[in-house]
């Protein structure tokens, strides 16, 4: 009896060990193959992704809504009425966007709207405060999220000085047109936080972010660390501002005013 049990345990142990080795080998093989395929594909890479928005060209509700629609369709962002809404990209006035209103401002500017989105800060407070690393910084400067690790504590929402984050207070799929879902991107479940991800999933397939694609050139996306990139060219040629620079978060979204 005892003998058999011992043998059984030995067998079980060996089997478990064998399975571990096999699965580890499998994982290695898969990741190796995966990277090979990705190198063949035209994956967009950068040291520091950034965006320059020509605010003179996107200044009305309609133009910004076009961008938001493209973004929200690409990422299955639900349209929830009320104050528990979810938005990745949206329109805001100069004062809401930059909280540095001048007296007697240029009327055009005063009436202008500006597209707002996650700034993918270099020193992102949301990354700093997240207790599970569900929000993390990628090597290319993008602040990304793991929706399956997020516990929904919303510390990142308190931490973000730009109001860029939304929480799924309710089941988001109830507010999505399930027939029109983008199957390439997951929907979320209730109880997790989400925000703009600079379209990491599209970059991985060599595509520009959805809002950039929809902007007809008004939004430019590129590598901030490359002096020859188009974003650097625009920054050289235009006066640009960023939101709340005094907080030292180093936003990666620039506005040509």
């Amino acid at each position: 009896m005892n003998h058999t049990r011992r043998n059984f345990l030995k067998f079980a142990g060996l089997t478990a060990a064998g399975l571990c080795v096999a699965s580890a080998g499998g994982a290695l093989a898969v990741s190796g193959a995966g990277s090979a395929i990705r190198d063949d594909e035209k994956i967009l890479k950068a040291k520091r992704w950034a965006m320059v928005i020509d605010a003179k060209r996107v200044r009305t509700k309609e133009t910004i809504d076009t961008l938001a629609k493209a973004c929200h369709a690409a990422h299955n962002v639900p349209d929830i009425p009320g104050k528990q809404n979810i938005k990745w990209l949206w329109a805001a006035s100069f004062e809401e966007a930059f909280d540095q209103p001048n007296n007697y401002m240029d009327e055009g500017l005063e009436k202008s709207l500006f597209p707002l989105l996650c700034n993918h800060c270099t020193n992102a407070p949301c990354v700093r405060v997240c207790p599970t690393k569900a929000t993390y910084k990628r090597a290319d400067g993008i602040v990304a999220m793991d929706y399956h690790r997020c516990i929904g504590c919303r510390y990142c929402m308190a931490g973000c000085p730009f109001g860029a984050r939304s929480f799924n207070f309710m089941e988001p799929r109830l507010h999505l047109d399930l027939a029109a879902l983008n199957k390439e991107f997951p929907t979320r479940m209730r109880g997790v936080v989400e925000k703009c991800n600079f379209c990491v999933e599209r970059l991985a397939h060599g595509k520009q972010p959805a809002c950039v694609e929809a902007s007809q050139g008004a939004l430019v996306f590129g590598d901030l660390s490359d002096p020859a990139s188009e974003v650097r060219k625009l920054l050289r040629e235009h006066y640009t501002i960023r939101r709340k620079p005094s907080l030292g978060t180093e936003p990666g979204v620039y506005y040509i005013i």
Partner: protein, 395 residues
């Protein structure tokens, strides 16, 4: 010792039954929240923390309060607190249980909560808050229970329990400091972004916490044979008074800095809370109530004649508790989120369901405190320590 909580008067059973009913009723609403999400609360995209986290913050203060008894007893050998020490420690247990409860109900995906342990992230203050709160809970359970057991057997307290008690004293300061750090390290939330926030948290904890503790001890005296040392009570009232003076002083420092510098970001939240902004004045009556009651409590606590009058003292403590609760349980959170990052005002008010779930947590805390206090008073009765008959000359 826990068996002592099983035997009690009919009134005791009615009270326990009532608490269980409240917990049961509240858990129904909590189940609803689990199934529908936090949409049943009044929270929003702009005010993403609400009543739950505010209660958590307030109760960390209550948890830290026991140290105002434990510290003089262990560090200064102030023997008149001897019979109160166990209540301070047991109150801390109940308070930390409520704190943890309020965090659990606030989380959107509670079943993933252990991710905080699976992926420990030392750069997150929430990770440290988890560490210090649970550590403080364990410390108080171990020290409190061991010392009470030793008392019951007429044995001296083991030496290691004294060492742990010293650790718990320093630890008590850490729980409220770390909880303040949750808030005060966030860029762009001006009301919280102030170096004095942790000090304010401690000051308000050390007045409101012992005030609640003293009120509960007074109640305990009514329903049991326990009688606290009158001089000890007077000293605790004095400590509460000093802490409240410091608390009010620290708040006035904030007011000075904001309004003398005239920097809009610093003034904005305070103006919203006390005057209203853009037609939004939801909290104004509450904040002025808090201010009035706060000053009122000081008027009743500072003169020794009024403070030492045991008929007036409960009232002074009660209005102090209301004042500090409005300040920290409502104003701190709502004022911190308003104005929003877009310089707008997003009014927040808890929903009925949110309040019922909160009531459930408060009932759980009350149940824990009732059971622990029941055990403690029974042991004291058994050993004949601090009994009403033993000190007939007082009062």
């Amino acid at each position: 010792m826990l068996e002592k909580a099983l035997k009690g008067s009919p009134k005791y059973y009615i009270w326990i039954g009532f608490l269980l009913l409240v917990i049961l009723g509240g858990s129904g609403i909590y189940l609803m929240q689990l199934m529908q999400g936090l949409t049943i609360t009044g929270m929003s995209r702009d005010v993403s923390w609400g009543f739950y986290i505010a209660q958590f913050t307030y109760l960390v203060g209550l948890a830290a309060s026991g140290v105002m008894i434990v510290l003089p007893y262990y560090f200064h050998h102030y023997k008149k607190f001897k019979d109160l020490v166990i209540f301070g420690e047991f109150m801390a247990i109940g308070a930390v249980v409520m704190c943890l409860g309020f965090i659990v109900v606030d989380i959107g995906q509670p079943q993933r909560m252990l991710n905080v342990l699976l992926f420990p992230t030392p750069n997150s203050i929430l990770f440290w808050d988890m560490v210090v709160l649970n550590g403080y809970l364990i410390l108080n359970v171990v020290v409190g229970w061991t010392c009470l057991e030793a008392d019951r057997q007429h044995l001296p307290h083991p030496k290691w329990s004294k060492t742990l008690a010293y650790v718990s004293i320093v630890w008590a300061f850490s729980i409220h400091t770390v909880t303040a750090f949750l808030y005060q390290g966030l860029p762009g939330r001006h009301y919280w972004l102030t170096a004095i926030l942790a000090a304010r948290f401690l000051a308000s904890a050390f007045c409101s916490g012992p005030a609640i503790l003293l009120l509960v001890i007074m109640l305990t005296q009514k329903v049991s044979t326990f009688k606290a040392n009158v001089e000890g009570v007077a000293t605790l009232a004095k400590i509460i008074t000093y802490a409240m003076v410091v608390n009010v002083f620290f708040f006035l420092l904030e007011v000075f800095t904001a309004f003398y510098s005239g920097i809009p970001g610093h003034m904005h939240s305070i103006v919203y809370l006390f005057k209203g902004v853009d037609g939004h004045a939801e909290l104004v009556p509450f904040m002025w109530t808090a201010a009035t009651l706060g000053i009122g409590s000081l008027c009743l606590l500072i003169p020794p004649k009024l403070r030492d009058n045991l008929k007036i003292l409960p009232w002074s403590l009660a209005i102090l508790v209301i004042a500090t609760w409005i300040d920290k349980g409502l104003g701190l959170l709502i004022g911190g989120f308003n104005p929003t990052p877009f310089e707008t005002i997003a009014p927040y008010w808890p929903t009925g369901k949110e309040l019922i779930v909160s009531l459930m947590i408060y009932a759980i805390g009350a149940l824990v405190v009732t059971i622990l206090f029941k055990v403690a008073t029974e042991v004291k009765e058994e050993t004949g320590a601090s009994q009403k008959e033993a000190v007939p000359a007082e009062n």
